[in-house]
Structures are given as structure tokens and as C-alpha cells.
Symmetry: C2
Amino acid sequence: MHDLITPAAPAPGGDTHSLATLHVADLVEYLNDLPEAVAAETLAQLPLERATEVFDRPELNRSGELLQALPAALSASILIEMSADRAADVLRLLDRAAQARLLAPLEPEPAGTLRRLLSYPEHSAGSLMTTELVSLPTTATVAEALRHIREVERTRETVYAIYLLDPRTRALVRTISLRRLITGEPEQKVMDLALAREPVTVTPETDRREVARLFARHDLLAVPVVDARRQVLGIVTVDDVIDAMVEQGTEEAHRFGGLEAAVDKPYLRLGFGQMLRSRAGWLCVLFLGEMLTASAMQHFEAQLEKAIVLTLFIPLIMSSGGNSGSQATSLIIRALALGQVRLRDWWRVAMREVPTGLALGVILGVLGIGRIALWQQLGIYDYGEHWALVALTVGLGLLGIVVFGSLTGSMLPFALQRLGFDPASASAPFVATLVDVTGLVIYFSVALMVLRGTLL
Amino acid sequence: MHDLITPAAPAPGGDTHSLATLHVADLVEYLNDLPEAVAAETLAQLPLERATEVFDRPELNRSGELLQALPAALSASILIEMSADRAADVLRLLDRAAQARLLAPLEPEPAGTLRRLLSYPEHSAGSLMTTELVSLPTTATVAEALRHIREVERTRETVYAIYLLDPRTRALVRTISLRRLITGEPEQKVMDLALAREPVTVTPETDRREVARLFARHDLLAVPVVDARRQVLGIVTVDDVIDAMVEQGTEEAHRFGGLEAAVDKPYLRLGFGQMLRSRAGWLCVLFLGEMLTASAMQHFEAQLEKAIVLTLFIPLIMSSGGNSGSQATSLIIRALALGQVRLRDWWRVAMREVPTGLALGVILGVLGIGRIALWQQLGIYDYGEHWALVALTVGLGLLGIVVFGSLTGSMLPFALQRLGFDPASASAPFVATLVDVTGLVIYFSVALMVLRGTLL
């Protein structure tokens, strides 16, 4: 976060882009549209500060490739000047050999910092954090603090949160905000101004979801990342949290729609092959799952031949199971993501979903029976002499399927979380596939009970 | 945003909660679990500053009811002390009569501010903004600016962005960050320190989605809301944007799962009636839509009776259409939300979805044909003498349905946006319902062509 003031985009005026005055977000878009070699050449001719600003933007496409395409001295300078968290993000896109090549010309200290950042797992606070923070000993005065902040301001990701460390152990003791600091008298001790509260902290392993939850809960601008001895390893700033939330929202939306989560390019820039790969995989998996419906149908073929009228309602029954299942799944995935429900609550959720499913099933069952009775009475369609029993079969089938769908849909995210998967990978199509096969079995079992001796 | 430093939750230690030292986020949870009357009484006994902190938290449930339950003098003080944007949010939960009652004891100026905030549409920048900002004339010096900030610090939502206004017209000229301000010399003019760039601004009508996009794009901590004459009406701060993003994520996830969007209570606190209302509505609408599948099936009953083998693949065909449709929908909804695709791009999207759908359809069609051929050859199931034609029907049916599903699913969000609806209301179940009926028609039409003279 270099500054919180940024210009509006210039009016699109002809083709004489002045790359020096263009706002960095627009410059990034301009570079994204250039062929890679041309973009690299353009970058190489920008002033170092400007090129660094460009690489600092997560919106820059092909950032790893572009960095490699620059002269080694320039790429090294950019890696040093960039915010450390973003530099690590760019390096993360490359293989180990390329990382080593780019890190080789760096001084041991910045190279070590970047290597450490690279070692944290994806989506963890460690991978989001930057090491460019402001810290002071607890013994500092307000005047000393402000003098230090003025000196380091240009090289720190944020100066709005200042971390007060024990002068001996360098362990984190307090956090103070700049707004509070400037209200103090010059000779006052910063510790006396700081609130007498334990600061909110995270560890490098904390998941980005939990980090976002802390920011929302405590209205933070930055959170310190500490190790077991409360040494500050870095900070996660609010702008990185927003970027992570946007990325996570995209991944979840894609997963819920039955797509590869990591479709990270803009839709219109996806190549045909990439588009196909991101979609065909899941579609085939779901298709293979749905093949079980054909097996289930084959199993009940004798019943189908005797009572063809039953087939008329198969799509209706199946879709109702799928819909009630994906409702329950969306509700629980979101509740888990917001921390409203925890793994140990699965039983309480199940005990709520059964009565809810029963009530919803009764509603749909009555609608279904009503539809058949109405069509029969109005003479729109003739369901045969046993139409009332057919209607009963459909109604009871719907009841059973909606209960089953709600229960399965709500338990699936728990099961996935328990198994170590992201609960959000329970997509609507996935739930529907699961419920479809059992839905058919429930429907035909009900039919066998209700229609035995008449149609079957 | 009162301060960016907040304490960790105290260790849960027995039942002697000390409400004075408890962190506000925990105090809110504690109050949320109390019956309404008890919570109101507890609030009435807290110091005014503490009670204000509680009402400032969006996590407080029943905030409107609780405010009404307090003595009139206390509720008036709280409304004045609260951040204006949050006070308006609380009032928004009440009907007009209750709003008028609560605003009556206030001085004309704060009451007017709150009435104006209440007049902005939901989810707009106007409804998110607060009027508690720091502004200075462009003629101010750094020393004057810092003195002013120290004076007003306690009553402003943020002091990290300072708005420089034309001394005569009070129009916004520049924005300067506190971090930049403190690097200046006391006698320096603030205007000389400010970057010579037009500040990023929004209007009161700007949608929260666009506001979030600006924050992500420009790494903002606050954005000024201006009218046509560039008068600053208020600011939207980053903590409100994060809250809005979380809320919007929930609404979209719920809508995509076929639920009422505004299920705003935690899952385990939803009453049985609320739970049913939030789910039954959409489930019934979808059910009524799916009833058309029964009508479609009835229409093809003659074909069904002649070729019962066709029914075996109905679930497989239908679900493939639904899955390809909801993939395309999720992809486009997200691309629209991120601004990667605009309304006018619908034709470019359609021209990409047709070849993608064709390729995906060929893949699934080949899988389907392979399945039938394999089962037939291995003797697992006998699809009859015309099994090859049945396989061809299934394959061509899948091709047609996947193309149709991809195209429909991708165009639906555009159509909804064009009609003024939120494109995210195109839920997976909604798309599936739309595709199911047409899927059956496509399948039977293909069957009529392929199997005429043999099975049909």
C-alpha cells in the first residue's frame, strides 16, 4: 500500500498514452494487452520506481514471465524495491530453478526474507504478509516514534499500525495506531498512550479465511503475524485481505458451479484450451457419477414397463431432491465460512434439517398430489384408473427425497471439512448428483409399496 | 473505526463476565444470547461510551428493537455518539414511525444528517458512507492540519485520509494521507505535499460492488462520496467495505443455492418459521417450473411406451444439461461481478460458448456412447437390437443439450442484468430448471429423427 490516494483513469484520448502520467492501474491494463516481449521491453524502459509500482499490482498478468524477461540487474532491483509479500507472490508463480536464478543476484538479507515468505503454505497468513512494518521498543517516546516513522515511511507497507516490542526479547507487547500516537505529547512514552490490551495476532499458518474474519470482526487495518515466542514475523494489511477475499470469492463461486476453482484469468482472455480444461474435468466426473442413474433405472426396468406413468414424474422428483440438497449445502457452507457453525455442531444441524426437510417435503408433496388430481379432474391428462395411488406415490416420493436431500446436502460440507477438504468444494452439481441416484431408488421403493397389487 | 487495536477475547472463565473489560466483539455476542428485555436493561446500565461501541457493531442482533427499548434520552445520545453510517443502518431496520420517534429528540443538524443517509438506496455508497471525515481548506499548513486532526481525532471514523477543499466553493480538490502529511515540515502547505492527481471519488448512488472494486483496484482506505458539484457528502471506509463484501458474499451464495438472499441471522439462530420461509418460496417456484417436465414427458408418452429404453437415460441427459448450464452461469456471474465482462460483451461471450459447448458436448457424447456400447458388448445390459441407434440418440442428445445448456447458462446473467435484476440471482437450480424442460424436448426430438422406422 504505497499511498491511499490515487488518480481517476485519464479520459481515453487517442493512442498517445503517456506511460509516465497514466495511473498505475491503467498502465497495468495497457501492459496486459501487449504481447509479452513488447510488455517486457516497455517495462525495461520505465523508471525503476514506476516499474516497481507495476509489479506491485496483483492485476498484472504474466508477472513471473515478465520479471524473467527483464535484464538480471533490473529484475533484482525490482524484487528489492517491491513490497516483500507481493515479490513472494510473483516468485511463487515460477518453478524452483527460476526462483533461484532470480534470487541469486540479491543480497543475503532480502533473499533470505523472500525465501522464508515462499516457504509458507498457499492461502496462509504467512503467504499474505509483508515484512515491511514499523516497530519500536516499548521505551520510545512519541517524538522518537514520529521521527522514526518519518524516516521509514517510504519503505513501509503501512505506518498506521506501530508494533511495540520488548527491548530485550523483541517480543510483541502492544500495538498502537498512528492516529492515537499523534494525539500524544512529544515527551510522552508511547506505551502510556497504547491501549492496555493484548493485540490481536495471527500465526503464519492461519488461513486467509480466518484472517479475513478477524479483520471484519475487529475493524483492523493490519494484523501482526507472530511466532510461538511472539516475535513479529510480518504483518498482513487490509488491502491484501481485500485482494484475498476477492480471489476466494471467485474460487468458491467457480467451485460451487462445478468448475476448476483456479480459473484466474479474465473470462475473455481464457484460451479455448484453458476454458475446456477448466470445465471438462468436473463435467466428466459428474457425468460418470450420473451414469449410476442409468444403472438405477435399469434395475427398475420391470416396474417401468408395467407402470410407464411413473416415468412422467422422474425429472420432477429428481430435480426436487437436487434443489433441496443444494439449498441446504449453500446454507451450511456459508455458515461454516462465517464461523457461525463449527464441525462439532453437525448433530445440531442434522436435528434441524430433518424437521425442516419434512416440512418442505410435505409442501412439495401436497403441490405434486394437487397437480395430478387437478389434471385428472380437469381431464387434461389421464393417469389411469389408479391415478390416486400414483399421486400418493409421487407425494410420498417427494417427501422422502426432500428429507434425504436436505440431510445429505447439509451433512456433506461437514463430511468434507472432517476429511480435510474445503467444505466449499461441495458444489450444487455435486450434491445433485449424489441425491439423484438415491432419489430414484426412494421413488421406486415408494412405488413398490404403494402400487403393489394394482399397477405393479 | 474507533481504533485499529483490539484485544483478544478473554479466556472463558466462569460466569462473572466483567462487562467493562470484555472486548466489544465478545460483549456483542453475550448480548445477542440474552432475551431482548434483559439485553436492553444491560445496555441501559453500561456507560454511554460502551453502549455506543456495542451499537456500532454490525454483528449486534435486534439493534433496532434494542434501541427502541432504551429510555428516549439514552437512545438519542447513542444515535448522536454512534458513527453516522451505522446509526442510519440501525434506523433502516425500523419502520418510518419508529424512525421519526427516535429522531424527534435529536438536534436538527444530526437528525438532518441521519435523514439524508436514510434516503440513499440500499447497497449504495450513500448507504455505506459516514459523514465523520476530516476536511481542511487547501490553504492549510501541515502544522494547522495536524493540530486540527488531534482535536477531532476522537469523533472521526478515519483520520488517515484528509480531504482538501477549495476554501470558497468547498469543492474537493485533493486528498492527502496522514502518512504523507506527517512527513512534511510544519510550515509547509498541505497542497504542496499532496500528489498532483485527481482523487478517486464515488457518487451516493454508486453500487457497493463498484465501491469494493475501486478499493481493490486502488488499495484505498477510504473513498470520498461527492455530488455533482464535487461537494464531499461523506466517506466510505475500508471496514465498511469489508462488511459489505462479507454480506454480499452471503447473499450471492444463498441466491446461487436457490434461497432467499437475505437470510441474515446465523444458521443456528434461525427460527423454524424463518428457516422455512427462506427456503420454501424458491423451492416451490422451482417445483412449479419443473412441473413442465411432466408436461413434456406426457407429450412424448407415445414414444416412451414404444421405446422404454429411452427413459433409462433421461436423468443422465437432464443432469448434463443442468451441469453445463450452471458452470457457464457461475463463470459469467463472476466475470460480470469483477467487471471482466460487460453487458455489451454478450455477443463475444455467446461466440465463445458455442464452440466450448460443442467440444464439451462431444466429450460427454462419446462417453455416453462408450458406456452403452461397453455394457452391451460385455453383456451387462441388453439395450435391444437397435442398441447402436439408441447410443447414437443418447450421444447426439447430449451434444445438443450441452451446447444449449452452455449457451442458456451464459446468456441468462446478461438477460437478468439487462432487465435490471442482479445477474447473481441466476441460481444453479434456476438454470437447471430452465434447461431441464428444453433438454427433454431436445432428447426426444433427436430420438424421433434417429429412431424413426426402427424403435419409433
